[in-house]
C-alpha cells in the first residue's frame, strides 16, 4: 500500500500598487494589504484554474487541475493549496503567471512548500506575526516623522464589513481560523490506496 504524496503550497498575495489619494501607510502594509472581499476559496480556485488552463492547456489542467484550496484568509492575503507531489511545479508556475485579481495588480509569492499541512500552517502563523511586527515598526518610525493612522484606514476600505480591531486582532483571528481549518481538513490527508 502506497500513500499518495502531497505537497502543500503556502502562498501570500502581494499588491504592488499603492492606493492613490489615501492616507500615508507603511510600505509593507501597502504590499500586504487585505484582499478584495469577493475573493474567497472558491473564486480563488477558479482564478488559478483559469491560469493553469491558459498557460498549460488541457494537459496542464489534467495534471494540476486537481488541487484544493485548503485555506484562504482575505485579511492576511495568505492561503494554502494542496496538490499531488509530481505536479506542484506546474501549479506554482501558474500562480507565478497570475498578474491581477479583479483588475487589481497582484503578485503571488510562494512562501513555503511543505509535505504536511501542519508545517504550512505554522509557517503561515509565523509569517503573519512577522508582517505585523514589521508594519508596527514601520508605522512607529512613520509616526516619529508625522502622525498618520493609515493602517486602520486600509482595513476599513479593504474589508468593509469586519474591521473592528484592525492591527492587533489579525494574528489571533488567524490562529482561530486556523484551528477550525485543521479540524476541517485533516480528514483526507492520510488516505491510502
Amino acid at each position: 500500500m502506497v500513500r499518495v504524496k502531497q505537497r502543500y503550497l503556502l502562498f501570500s498575495i502581494l499588491y504592488p500598487s499603492v492606493p492613490n489619494g489615501g492616507p500615508a501607510i507603511p510600505q509593507s502594509m501597502a504590499f500586504n494589504q487585505p484582499s478584495p472581499s469577493n475573493l474567497t476559496r472558491t473564486s480563488l480556485a477558479a482564478i488559478i484554474r483559469n491560469s493553469i488552463s491558459y498557460n498549460f492547456g488541457d494537459w496542464g489542467m489534467g495534471q494540476a487541475g486537481s488541487f484544493v484550496v485548503k485555506y484562504f484568509s482575505g485579511a492576511t492575503s495568505t492561503g494554502i493549496l494542496r496538490i499531488t507531489r509530481e505536479n506542484y511545479r506546474i501549479l506554482w508556475a501558474a500562480l507565478t503567471y497570475i498578474r491581477e485579481l479583479y483588475g487589481q495588480p497582484a503578485v503571488f509569492k510562494v512562501v513555503r512548500v511543505s509535505g504536511t499541512i501542519r508545517k504550512a500552517e505554522l509557517e503561515a502563523i509565523k509569517l503573519a506575526e512577522e508582517t505585523i511586527r514589521r508594519v508596527k515598526r514601520e508605522q512607529k518610525s512613520m509616526e516619529a516623522n508625522k502622525s498618520g493612522r493609515g493602517v486602520a484606514a486600509v482595513f476599513a476600505s479593504g474589508k468593509a464589513s469586519s474591521a473592528k480591531k484592525p492591527q492587533v486582532a489579525t494574528v489571533e483571528d488567524e490562529e482561530d481560523e486556523m484551528i477550525v481549518d485543521i479540524v476541517d481538513s485533516s480528514d483526507d490527508d492520510d488516505d491510502e490506496i
Partner: protein, 322 residues
C-alpha cells in the same frame, strides 16, 4: 543573498521605479543593479551618463545594495566599441548582441561581464555550445530576463523557447536570472523565479545558483577586472613610503610616549637603536629626546641579568603586599 542585476533606470523621482525597488526589497532581494542601456555610439563623456545614478539612489531602502550597470546594444560589427573605458564608471558592463556574428564577437573577444540577449523575440539562429562555451570559459555569463514573459503572451512563448535552448546549449552553466522589470507588478520572488527556471530545464540547484551565486560572481569579477592588474594582482595596501607626518604632531606624540611606557622600556633594555617597528618618521623625531635619556643609562650602570631578576622579584613582592 539574492540578486537582481537588471532594473532599468529612469530617474530618481520616478514613483514607479522607487515602488519597484521597495517591492523587490519586500520580495527578499538584497542586491539590485540599476541598468542604463546605450544604443549606437558610446558618448565620449561616459562619466556624465554614469553620474545620472547617484551614489545612494534610494536612501530609504537600507537593506539593499545598489550597483551601476550599463548595457551596450551591439548592432554594427565594424564599429569599435570602447568597452574598456566603461568599466571605470560602472560596476557591471553588459552587451546585447543582435545577430550571430556579434554574439560570436561578444563571446570571444569583447571586454564585458555579461551577455544579455533579448530572449523575448525570435532569433534566426541557434545557440551553439561551441560559441557560448567560449564565453563561459572566459567567465562571462548569460542573462535570462523573465519580466517580459509575465506581461506579454508572445514574449512568453519566445522566452520559453529561447531560454530552454540557451540552457540546453550552455548545459546549465553560467546562467544569470534577472527581471528587467519596468513595473513592480512584473517582479517575482526569488524562489518563484527558480521554479520558473525549472520549467525551462534548469534544475532547482542550478536555478538557485543562477539567482544568487552567479550574479555574485559577475559582480566580483567585474570588480576585480576594474581594480586589479589583468585580473591577477591587486594591490590592497600601498605599503612602501609612509605618509609624511608633520614634525609638530610627531613631537607631541613622542613626548607623550616618552613620559610613559616607552622610555622605561628603552631604559631597561639599554639599547637605543634597537627600536621596534614603529613608523619611521616618529622614531626619527624621537631620537634626540630618547638618546639623551638613554645616554645616562649607558654609562656603566647597565643592569646585569641577575640584577634585573632581583628587581622584578622586588616589584612582584611590592605588588603582592599592595
Amino acid at each position: 543573498m539574492f540578486y537582481d542585476l537588471n532594473i532599468p533606470w529612469t530617474s530618481k523621482d520616478d514613483p514607479e521605479l522607487s515602488r519597484t525597488i521597495a517591492f523587490l526589497a519586500e520580495l527578499g532581494y538584497n542586491v539590485i543593479a540599476l541598468n542604463q542601456t546605450i544604443t549606437g555610439k558610446i558618448p565620449a563623456k561616459i562619466a556624465n551618463v554614469a553620474n545620472l545614478i547617484p551614489e545612494t539612489p534610494f536612501p530609504e531602502q537600507t537593506s539593499i545594495r545598489f550597483l551601476r550597470r550599463v548595457t551596450i546594444v551591439l548592432d554594427d560589427p565594424s564599429q569599435n566599441y570602447g568597452l574598456s573605458s566603461l568599466s571605470n564608471n560602472f560596476d557591471i558592463v553588459a552587451v546585447r548582441p543582435t545577430d550571430e556574428k556579434l554574439l560570436l564577437q561578444a563571446c570571444t573577444s569583447l571586454e564585458c561581464d555579461l551577455i544579455s540577449l533579448d530572449l523575448s523575440v525570435r532569433h534566426p539562429f541557434h545557440f551553439k555550445y561551441k560559441v557560448l562555451g567560449q564565453a563561459i570559459s572566459r567567465g562571462i555569463r548569460f542573462e535570462i530576463t523573465y519580466a517580459a514573459s509575465i506581461n506579454d503572451n508572445s514574449a512568453r512563448r519566445n522566452l520559453l523557447q529561447n531560454a530552454a535552448a540557451m540552457i540546453r546549449a550552455t548545459k546549465g552553466k553560467g546562467i544569470v536570472l534577472s527581471s528587467e522589470a519596468r513595473k513592480a507588478v512584473s517582479c517575482r520572488a526569488p524562489f518563484d523565479v527558480i521554479n520558473l527556471a525549472t520549467l525551462w530545464g534548469l534544475n532547482q540547484e542550478k536555478g538557485k545558483d543562477a539567482i544568487s551565486k552567479g550574479p555574485r560572481a559577475v559582480m566580483l569579477q567585474a570588480k576585480i577586472k576594474r581594480q586589479s592588474h589583468r585580473g591577477v594582482i591587486e594591490v590592497v595596501e600601498g605599503g612602501g613610503i609612509p605618509k609624511p607626518v608633520s614634525k609638530e604632531v610627531a613631537k607631541t606624540t613622542i613626548s607623550q610616549k616618552a613620559a610613559g611606557k616607552r622610555k622605561a622600556e628603552i631604559e631597561e633594555k639599554g639599547t637605543p637603536n634597537n627600536s621596534t617597528k614603529e613608523s619611521t618618521p616618529q622614531v626619527d623625531g624621537a631620537k634626540p629626546d630618547s638618546e639623551t635619556a638613554v645616554g645616562e643609562d649607558l654609562s656603566e650602570n647597565r643592569p646585569t641579568k641577575k640584577q634585573r631578576k632581583k628587581e622584578k622579584q622586588a616589584a612582584k613582592k611590592a605588588a603582592a603586599r599592595a
